[in-house]
Amino acid sequence: MAELPIWQYDTLFLITVVLFGVTALTMQNLMSAAIVFGAYSFLMCLIWTAMGAVDVAFTEAAVGAGVSTVFIVATIYNTGASAKPRKPRVGFKLFAGAVAVATGAFLLSALPDFPAWGDPQSPVNSTVAPYYIENTIRDAHVPNIVTTVLADYRGFDTLLETAVVFIACIAIYSILRVDSAKSTVDEPDIIAAPPAYDPTDSLIIRQASRIMVPFMQIFALYVIAHGHYSPGGGFQGGVILGASVILLCISFDLKFVLRQWTEKKIMLLTALGVLIYAAVGVACMFMGGDYLNYNALDPVLPGDMAYARYYGILLVEIGVGVTVMFSMIGIYIILASNGRFKRGL
């Protein structure tokens, strides 16, 4: 028997993950499907931590499992729909099944050509990656290699990613947001059935969330600031900040939150984060370096050339954190209130 890969437990996790995925898709009730999907994502985080991808697991837990499940629940809450069994389109389902099986077989045909799972000498781990591992300390004095690659070596990718989050927010805003005063589009008021429970009278939930929120926010700030040394960074910290506000929305109700966070403030700050990130890049251009080349900021930032990159990364992480926080809040509020920013989940 070939030397078994060390992750015997992971094969177990992988199988359960597949089971969770299939059940999430075949369930009738949409709400339970959303919950199972949340569980599926959390299991996925476990697998990734086992494989050494801690930052990705952290993001998946915060963004993938946490926020997207909340979005789905908000949508289902607003529409109150459950997948009513319709006459199944057997012919089309079989065709789709055939297409999926065919593509699957085609993909698996490349299996023998793949490197084994976890082999350190595979092309992926032996061409560009070693440079990052060996030179991060020399270049940017940041021990967490993932953060440097994220914000410095491939910083342009992260700028575009922040732009993606920003676009998602304004896209959802322009799709759903209906300014009932001016717009000509006629659509029915909220048609959702009144929720089974009335959140305002559950004392325990309100008090517990009221206590938890400040600690969540402090932890989130720690995550953003400490991203250089430990897993974490702009995305994860921003999502946790956003989640703390969303927690308030769910435990109390939208009006309570909208008193401090008006729609205008949320939308402006979403755009501001991207601006911070892009402005840092433009500043590097004006200081003589290429776009997003933090070395050019050295005269402005303390410490030697490498520390310029250290602080450059920090600035950029803050920009990302701001955008992600406010866009998560914005998206949640629009989805939850079916576009009217007044009442909702």
Partner: protein, 153 residues
Amino acid sequence: MEEIVPKFNYIVVVILMMTGLWSMLAQSNLIKKCIGMAIFQTGIILFFISIGAKNNASIPIVAKEPLGQVLGQAHAPEGSQPPAKPELAAAKAKVYPDPPDVNKLTNPLTQILMLTAIVVGVATLGVGLALAQKVYQQHNSFDEDEILENQTK
């Protein structure tokens, strides 16, 4: 058998992706399509992460010896003021071992690609759900067949 076991992760990846693809194509419920889309994307993320993983390698953070040990004062006597700035910077520099061993740390590149993919996935999911919600406002149903009948009416 020795062909399958060391490459088990790719099989799981393909299964996950194909369930996602199947549900995007065949499911008539719009929300189910969105969930299927999310599962398809997580499948791809699993593929990328598993090609970057290395046997018995730790997380990609360069471990450093404690600063005190490097400065030679395991426990600083009281009253002695901290060393001057340049020695501190020099010590800090020396704190990290010379280039860390590549095989001991997992591949950071695949991980940051997947950070982007997760965030893009959530963004697309958000927009998909928004569209589904608006479709529900117009047609009062998530089911594709009902919507088609409603449109052609």
